[in-house]
């Protein structure tokens, strides 16, 4: 009896590591950016909730994530412990950079979070509403200088979609690219540009303090506790969310994919993850399986179309 117990204990100990898989998550961006923060939040959640024993985060920055993606697709092939974070910006970067490696070369697992793009103007701007902005845009598209993140990203695409929706030629959009929402913020506060377009999180504290006026947000629904219409409510038929996703290595088996899916689902439902989302102001837009694959295909197609309209992709 005693022996049996011992055997059970030993085999239990040996089997234990198998339950808690180790992961290595690649953030295809520099430390500090959104993808890096997503990867590190995943790391903390997976470890704290004992879903995984040991999680490493690596950074491979560059070119909208396509450098990291290419490296990941080449080197992680068939390895179920490798994950990569990505998102909407990567979809655009793959198209504008004509990246030889695309999301079809990895195994997308799930969409995790989403963030609305916000339209803001300085407090002393004559523009009060989205209607004012649309009127100015129609009067002289070139005179409306938009400031946001790098060319071809979610911010630029939002500007292009708005122009298109109100009947202005998207190639006429005077988009000034900054290396990030933060640098754009400085230009908007300094009154150097007409309107700012970037993730709501970049502007939240200035909107609260009254230094910036929030005209609208691009998501499907209003944000809790934020007094601004969605673009659709304001009469511009545009819905866009800058989402972030996690993908696994190419060449893994269906069982391995299912196991990763289960781990990610457990992570998304964990208290650690939910608290982190609330702290950072990220919206949970978890979507996995076939529904995510279908949505991803739709997003890739729509992004390609608008990038052609803006003139960034031939």
């Amino acid at each position: 009896m005693n022996k049996l117990f011992l055997a059970a204990l030993v085999s239990g100990l040996i089997a234990l590591p198998a339950y808690a898989a180790d992961y290595s998550i690649m953030a295809p961006a520099s430390p500090g950016g959104g993808w890096d923060q997503t990867a590190r939040t995943m790391q903390a959640s997976l470890q704290d909730e004992k879903i995984s024993g040991n999680v490493q985060v690596t950074n491979v920055p560059g070119a909208g994530g396509t450098i990291g993606l290419a490296q990941f697709a080449n080197q992680a092939n068939g390895d179920p412990s490798q994950l990569i974070v990505g998102g909407y910006v990567m979809v655009g970067a793959i198209l504008t950079n004509q990246s030889p490696v695309t999301l079809a070369d990895v195994t997308p697992i799930a969409r995790l979070t989403g963030e609305s793009v916000a339209l803001v103007v300085p407090a002393n701007s004559p523009l009060q509403t989205v209607d004012d902005l649309v009127a100015a845009l129609k009067a002289d598209p070139g005179a409306v200088a938009w400031a946001g993140g790098s060319a071809g990203g979610a911010d630029h695409i939002t500007a292009g979609l708005i122009a298109k929706a109100v009947g202005v030629d998207p190639t006429q959009v005077n988009y000034i690219a900054y290396s990030g929402g933060g640098e754009a913020l400085a230009a908007i506060l300094g009154g150097q540009v007409t309107v700012g377009v970037s993730g709501y999180g970049e502007f939240a504290s200035q909107v609260e303090s009254g230094d910036l006026r929030l005209l609208a947000i691009s998501g499907e629904k209003r944000l809790d506790g934020v007094d601004a219409p969605t673009l659709s409510e304001a009469g511009v038929d545009v819905v866009l969310e800058n989402w972030r996703m996690v993908a696994a290595a190419p060449g893994i088996t269906d069982e391995q994919k299912a196991a990763i899916n289960a781990d990610i689902e457990a992570m998304v439902n964990s208290a650690t993850w939910q608290t982190a989302l609330a702290d950072r102001g990220w919206v949970n837009t978890y979507l996995a399986g076939d529904a995510f694959d279908a949505q991803l295909a739709k997003d890739i197609e729509a992004t390609g179309a608008i990038l052609k309209d803006i003139g960034l992709v031939q």
């Binding site: 970067a93 005077n174 400085a186």
Partner: protein
Amino acid sequence: MDTFALLAQGLMAAMAPMNLVYALIGVTLGTAVGVLPGIGPALTVALLLPVTYRLDPAGSLIMFAGIYYGGMYGGSTTSILLNTPGESASIVTALEGNKMARKGRGGPALATAAIGSFVAGLLATLGLAFIAPWVVKFALSFGPADYFALMVLAFITVSAAFGDSALRGITALFIGLGLGIIGIDLQTGQARLAFGVPDLFDGIEVTTLAVALFAIGETLKIASSPSQLKEEILAVKGSVWMTVEDWKRSWVPWLRGTAIGFPIGAMPAGGADVASFLSYSAERSFAKKPEEFGHGAIEGVAGPEAANNASAAGTLVPLLTLGLPTTATAAIMLAGFQQFGLQPGPLLFANNAPLVWSLIASLLIANFMLLVLNLPLIGLWVKLLTIPKPWLYAGILTFATLGTLGANGAMSMQVFGIRFSFELVLLLAFGILGYALRRFSYPIAPVVVGLILGPMAEQQLRRALAISQGDPGILIGSPVAIVLYSVAILALVLPMIMRMRGKGGALAQLASDED
């Protein structure tokens, strides 16, 4: 008076024994990673972010502050002793600092860097406490046209600072500008001069170029002319500490460096590297003995070192008052704030005053710790130079290669089935370029300056013209820009007049061997 009371309260909080321990851990780690090329402060703070889940907000912010300041200072040690700048802000430190080290004055060079960093950190932190709202207003008033004017000023003063051989200096500058074009253009998203190589999409990494030109290029030069090996490097000549004359020559540059570094650090598109270039040029033009520049002028270490530390404190101005991170380290500190439910920005001072003041107080303490930690170590550091030259240069080569591998060493290239790191190939190619430049007496620094300033100048110029819809009038449309251009013209014309009066001889002599 209110501010003083708040600051005193903050100091009391930050002086708690546990917080002092965190500050010590922070500056030690920061100095260590600053010394190692390849691991920057940004990555260190990112790696330590999970640790802070277990600390209280004040404790972790204090640790971050220590890492940040420590990293800024650590970079200068390798610049001075080994001519291997680990980050872009310590490139100019290498120019004079390494010359001093070779003459046996490594001790005073390290000391003036440490004390200058302390003085600058102290003043800039007080600036952060007392005049942040005004500084940020000034920084925000800078539009793209004004930034472009600032870049023009930097170009002119920096290339003028490389002496008489304008042709060689400008040739070197243009090599840097050419390298700066490589990569994806921010405004259009299109790749330029990347030849389809994904590793080039993000442009040439400044530290790779700097380490290659300075460290590898020099090693090759030494290896190619064995006779130079006999030239003695003096580890210590005279005192390890600063002499009375060193103090006299250092204190004004410290203050000037602080005055230049703090506002430039506070600018969203400024940065410690730009501040250190401008400070170097300023010291050179104000120097009583300009002929010493290029041969180890202590002002050329004191000024830029003060400027880059002041600029580090400057970056906290937009971070705390606007929630605007202007460097990668600041971005991660922002993430740290958010983790504690704090939103840096206009309301932070009002909503979380005690925490903000203990952060500012902890900066003062971190700064002090740094001095305490580093001054006694100077004697130890300079011993590095007693290593026989072949060993020393072999060590530098290993160090430079490991650093590059650590920073961007992805094995991304594959030729004939062999994987290798593209970044290492770049390192070697630029090392050979560095050797050729030295061999034919071209200055090295303008290449790196071109790579750093070129893309900034280009983006700002194009932003300015896009906003004005093509009207070039915007470039001289603001008082700030006009002032900057006037200073630039002065900087261009004054040396010419001086040269015509026959004072150019000394400058000419320097041009050939400023590396």
